[in-house]
Each structure stands twice: as structure tokens, then as C-alpha cells.
């Protein structure tokens, strides 16, 4: 019986045939066509960008199917997304305003592009006063924001309920830069990290929620967002503006560049991002998770080492599960030599057809990646192509 199970498992882990991989990729290909077929677009650069992005996304999914490996292919998408987001965004901001700096007049007018990161910080002020304290607009004609805020919040909620914190690995346009940085060195120079830093995102979330409610200001955006350094910053008209921008640059250089290079971890996501902490709660609503099959696990802790967010500990491995902060990136599953780290659907037996669970998760996550990240990649590619085409 055990031998039979082992044979089945071995068959399940062997590379898929090309024809079967193509077949499994067809739904994603169809979705990509729907997302990127902008027939009404006559801009050649945009057309090329759309086709390139669609091919890129389909090819990555095909490779995921063919090799049964998730992390390394997903990482390509994520890093490209992280690098191209600032390209398209900065171009758009400069085209609209002529500068990356947001003057206070623009903020007061609600013409700040909305970003999903402050969503959890704005809930309490909105509940108490029915006011969104983010200086953006959901009204038509509210500048670049337009209906973007409502659309982004809606898409985020729908996707989040399904994939939970998978959002942070398949949709967030900020995490890719640090994931790219983390993948540069072959070995981590700093390996011993105090596990209590894992609580950092929750602390930032608590502090920012309380301060945003007390001050009726989007405190995170004004003071702590590392990604202001590569998107839009406060127009530095005085010392305070200089301090704010200084903080953005220092946090970006430290958390997104230097620490990932030293630790091979996604340090901003793992130790700082308040949105990530909030998103962790939705891992409870998501039907997908990653489990450790205790019957196969030898305590090599390769999964723990591979996890970019310290979401596996010795204790959690013993319990056969990841921590709440798991981003479902697939690094532990790919790293496990015994195939003990497996994708799992809640309510089913652990290691019961894990590849099926992976497929179901990936269809949801990759559809989201195409819709949310794919558009951003296409915009970045189009921006670059506009220089040449």
C-alpha cells in the first residue's frame, strides 16, 4: 500500500508532458487574451506591450505546469512587476504633474493616486466619520484617482477572500523589488535573525491605525512608506518635507535594498509592511494554505531556510503548518527534498492530491496576477517602448 502511494506520489512529482501542460495552461491563456486584447488600442507600443505581457504570463504559467515548480517562475513575474511598476507609474505622474513630488494643493484637491497599502489604516477613521482620510478621490474627475480607489478596494477584497495573503506574492506591486534583491546573493550573509522581528508588521499596523485615528491623517503615507522613494514623494518645500523624504529613502534603502541583499529575505514584507499584517488575517478566510506532511518530513528545515518571510519555525513545522504570515509564494514547497511541504485545501486531508490543490490555488492566484500585475507590467513595457516605437 505504502509502495503504491509512493509510486503515485513519484508520478505526481515528475515533469508533466508538454501537451498536458499546454492543456492546463489554456484557461490562463484565455484569461490573458481577455485581459490584454485591447482591440480598440491603436497605439503600437501599447499593442506590443500587451502581447509581450500576455505571452510572458502564459509562458510562466506553462512552466509552472510543466515543471511543477511554483516559486522560481512566480519570482520572475514578481520581480518584473516590481521593477516595471515604478517605470509606468513615474511616467504617468510626471506626465500629469511634471514632477514626482506631490504638492499639498494636489493632496487637498484629492488628486493623489490611491494605493492599497493604507486600506487597513483608514478603516477606523472611515467608520467613525464616513471620511476617507487618504488624500485621494473616488469621485469622477478627482484627478488621477478617479474611481480607482473604489475599484482597487473592491478587487482587493474579492481576491483577498480567495487567496488570503497570497495577494502579497501574486498582486502587490511593491514586493518584487525586494524579492529581486533577495535573489541576488547566492548565500545569506546575515542568517541569524531575531524571530521577534516577525511581529514588526503588526506593530506598525497597530501604531498606524491608532495614529491615523487620532490625527485623521494617513500617517503611514506621510511618514513611513518606503515605496514613496520609487513612486511619489512629498514635495519638499520645507524642512519637514525633507525629513519625510529622508525617512522614505532610508527605509527603502534599508528594508528593500540592503537587508534583502544581506538576509535573502523579503525584509520589508516580513518585518515592516502593515498591509501584510492585515492581509495575514485573510489567510483564515482563504481555503488554500501550505502544510507540512509530518509523515514525510525529516527535520532538515530547508523549508524554514527558504521561506522569505520567516513564516516557518521549528514549532510550526512540528505542528505541520506555516504561520499566519505565509504568503503562499511556494518557496518552501519547492525547497523540500521529501515533498513534505505541500499545497493544501482546507477541510481535506493533508498531502491528499497536493498537486490538485496547487493547481486550484494557482488558477485563482495567476488570474489575479494577470489582472492586477499584468496590467502594471504592460504599462511599464509600453512606457519603455514609447521611447523607441
Amino acid at each position: 500500500m505504502a509502495t503504491e502511494a509512493r509510486v503515485l506520489r513519484a508520478q505526481e512529482m515528475a515533469p508533466r508532458s508538454i501537451s498536458r501542460s499546454i492543456l492546463l495552461s489554456l484557461p490562463i491563456a484565455l484569461w490573458s487574451v481577455l485581459m490584454f486584447a485591447h482591440f480598440w488600442q491603436h497605439d503600437r507600443a501599447v499593442q506590443i506591450a500587451d502581447v509581450t505581457t500576455a505571452v510572458f504570463m502564459i509562458a510562466l504559467f506553462f512552466m509552472m505546469m510543466r515543471t511543477r515548480s511554483t516559486y522560481r517562475w512566480r519570482r520572475w513575474f514578481f520581480v518584473v512587476l516590481g521593477l516595471l511598476f515604478p517605470v509606468g507609474f513615474i511616467h504617468q505622474v510626471i506626465a500629469m504633474r511634471g514632477t514626482m513630488g506631490i504638492p499639498i494643493e494636489e493632496m487637498i484637491a484629492g488628486r493623489t493616486p490611491f494605493c492599497f497599502l493604507p486600506i487597513p489604516l483608514l478603516i477606523l477613521p472611515a467608520a467613525f466619520t464616513k471620511t476617507v482620510v487618504f488624500p485621494g478621490s473616488i469621485l469622477p474627475g478627482g484627478g488621477m484617482s478617479g474611481g480607482g480607489m473604489a475599484a482597487m478596494a473592491g478587487i482587493w477584497l474579492a481576491m483577498t477572500i480567495v487567496v488570503g495573503k497570497g495577494w502579497c506574492s501574486y498582486a502587490c506591486f511593491f514586493g518584487g523589488i525586494e524579492e529581486g534583491m533577495a535573489s541576488v546573493p547566492t548565500r545569506a550573509k546575515v542568517r541569524k535573525i531575531d524571530p521577534r522581528w516577525r511581529y514588526g508588521p503588526w506593530a506598525v499596523l497597530l501604531a498606524m491605525v491608532l495614529l491615523s485615528l487620532a490625527l485623521f491623517d494617513s500617517v503611514y503615507c506621510m511618514w513611513l512608506c518606503p515605496f514613496k522613494a520609487v513612486s511619489e514623494y512629498v514635495a519638499a518645500r520645507n524642512t519637514v518635507g525633507m525629513i519625510q523624504n529622508g525617512i522614505f529613502v532610508v527605509l527603502f534603502a534599508g528594508l528593500v535594498i540592503a537587508l534583502p541583499l544581506l538576509t535573502k529575505k523579503r525584509t520589508q514584507c516580513a518585518f515592516f509592511c502593515p498591509f501584510g499584517a492585515f492581509q495575514s488575517i485573510f489567510n483564515k478566510t482563504s481555503v488554500f494554505d501550505v502544510k507540512i506532511d509530518r509523515t514525510r518530513c525529516s527535520p532538515c528545515v530547508l523549508c524554514k531556510t527558504a521561506c522569505p518571510t520567516l513564516s516557518l519555525t521549528d514549532e510550526s513545522i512540528v505542528r505541520g503548518e506555516t504561520l499566519m504570515s505565509c504568503m503562499k509564494c511556494g518557496a518552501c514547497v519547492d525547497a523540500c527534498p521529501k515533498d513534505a511541504a505541500v499545497w493544501h485545501i482546507k477541510g481535506t486531508e493533508v498531502a491528499m492530491k497536493p498537486e490538485r490543490a496547487r493547481l486550484m490555488f494557482l488558477y485563482a492566484a495567476w488570474a489575479m496576477a494577470i489582472m492586477f500585475g499584468g496590467g502594471t507590467i504592460a504599462e511599464g513595457v509600453a512606457t519603455i517602448l514609447h521611447v523607441f516605437v
Partner: protein, 220 residues
């Protein structure tokens, strides 16, 4: 009759302003409360101390401002000085609190892997009293609203009584914070609260220093 009407007004004003007071004190109260031991009794005592000291802060500010004839419109220079000192002091107390919470945890925790901390070291009333007093000194909008009304009263005693009733109205909104006593205190909760306190302290410290240096916060 007129007196009871005035104090009814103070109570109504307090009740109406309570959410703003709660929001204003939240960054100080919530994380510091989370570093205390779990249990409704402990948390009730903490909040009672905090509110009592806050009340003293209210009265002290009201009495001094009344004597200076500046209850409603405190001149900018002393206001910046006062609030600068209050914010820097708040930052200092929060940092001390974060440090001491770690210290008491280190004594109580048998090991880092221990999940539930059943018996963190019992801490005195100095912390919540200091935090409550300092938050009581801040010139938040509800306080200004009460100050305007109190300034119209005939004597300092009446003004202080007005503030006392106003305080009772706002304090009712703090009762839900007692519920934080039901949150299990484990390493995660205490570490999160301590880290949050440090962040909040840095922000208050920055605000206080900019006030003391006489700089405008946004300069616009």
C-alpha cells in the same frame, strides 16, 4: 436650575466629544494597556488610574489657564512650549514603558518559546498616571470646546466643576478599553505593543521637538 442645565450641557458635550477623546488617547492607551497583565480587574485599575490622572491634567490645565485668563486662547508661544514639552514627555514615558515592559517580561518568561505569559511582573501606577496626566494636558478640540463654555462661567470653581462633569461624559467612552483585558498576553502581543509604543513615541517625540524648535509642522 440654571446650574443643572449647565452641567447637563457639560455632560452632553463630554458624551458627544468622547469618540474624539478616545481616538486622541488611543495611541498612548492601547499599546501601554496591552503590555499590562491580562484580566479585567487589572485593566480596570489601569484605566481608572489613567483616567484619574487625566482628570488631574484637565483640572490643572483649566485652573492655570483660568488664572492666566487664557482658557480659550492660549497665546501661541507658551502653547507651543507647553505642548512641545507634553509631547516630548509622552515620548519619554512611552519609551520607558516599552523598555520596562520588556524587562518585566524577561523576568516572567521561562523561555522564548513560551506562548502564554501568565504572570508578568506586577507594575505600579506611575506609568498609567504619567500617561494619563500628560494626555490630560493636551489641547484637543473637545477640550477647547469645553474651555470656551467654562470660560463663560462666573468662577474658577464653577469652571472646574464644568470640566469635571465634561470629563465624566468623555470617560464613558473609555470603558470599552477594559475589554482589552480579555486579550491573552503572550510574547507576540507584548512585543507588538512594545514596538508600537516605540513608533508612537518617535512620532510624538518628533512632534514635540518641532514644536519646541518653533517650526511649523507642514509649513504650508
Amino acid at each position: 436650575m440654571a446650574g443643572s442645565f449647565v452641567f447637563g450641557e457639560a455632560l452632553a458635550l463630554g458624551l458627544a466629544s468622547g469618540p474624539a477623546c478616545m481616538a486622541s488617547c488611543g495611541p498612548v492607551l492601547v499599546p501601554s494597556l496591552l503590555t499590562e497583565r491580562a484580566g479585567l480587574r487589572v485593566n480596570t485599575r489601569y484605566i481608572a488610574t489613567f483616567l484619574g490622572a487625566r482628570f488631574l491634567g484637565y483640572l490643572a490645565f483649566a485652573a492655570v489657564a483660568w488664572e492666566l485668563g487664557a482658557l480659550v486662547s492660549l497665546p501661541p508661544a507658551p502653547r507651543m512650549l507647553l505642548f512641545g514639552v507634553v509631547h516630548v514627555s509622552l515620548a519619554g514615558v512611552l519609551l520607558w514603558y516599552a523598555y520596562s515592559a520588556g524587562h518585566s517580561c524577561a523576568h516572567a518568561c521561562a523561555g522564548s518559546e513560551l506562548v502564554t505569559i501568565g504572570a508578568t511582573k506586577k507594575r505600579g501606577v506611575a506609568g498609567p498616571a504619567a500617561l494619563g496626566f500628560l494626555t490630560g494636558l493636551s489641547l484637543c478640540p473637545p477640550f477647547v470646546a469645553a474651555g470656551v463654555r467654562a470660560a463663560e462661567l462666573g468662577s474658577v470653581a464653577a469652571a472646574l466643576l464644568f470640566f469635571a462633569v465634561f470629563f465624566v461624559g468623555t470617560s464613558i467612552w473609555f470603558v470599552p478599553f477594559v475589554g482589552l483585558g480579555c486579550v491573552t498576553r503572550n510574547e507576540a502581543v507584548i512585543t507588538v505593543a512594545r514596538m508600537a509604543m516605540v513608533l508612537i513615541a518617535l512620532y510624538y517625540g518628533y512632534l514635540g521637538l518641532t514644536m519646541l524648535l518653533g517650526r511649523k509642522v507642514y509649513g504650508y
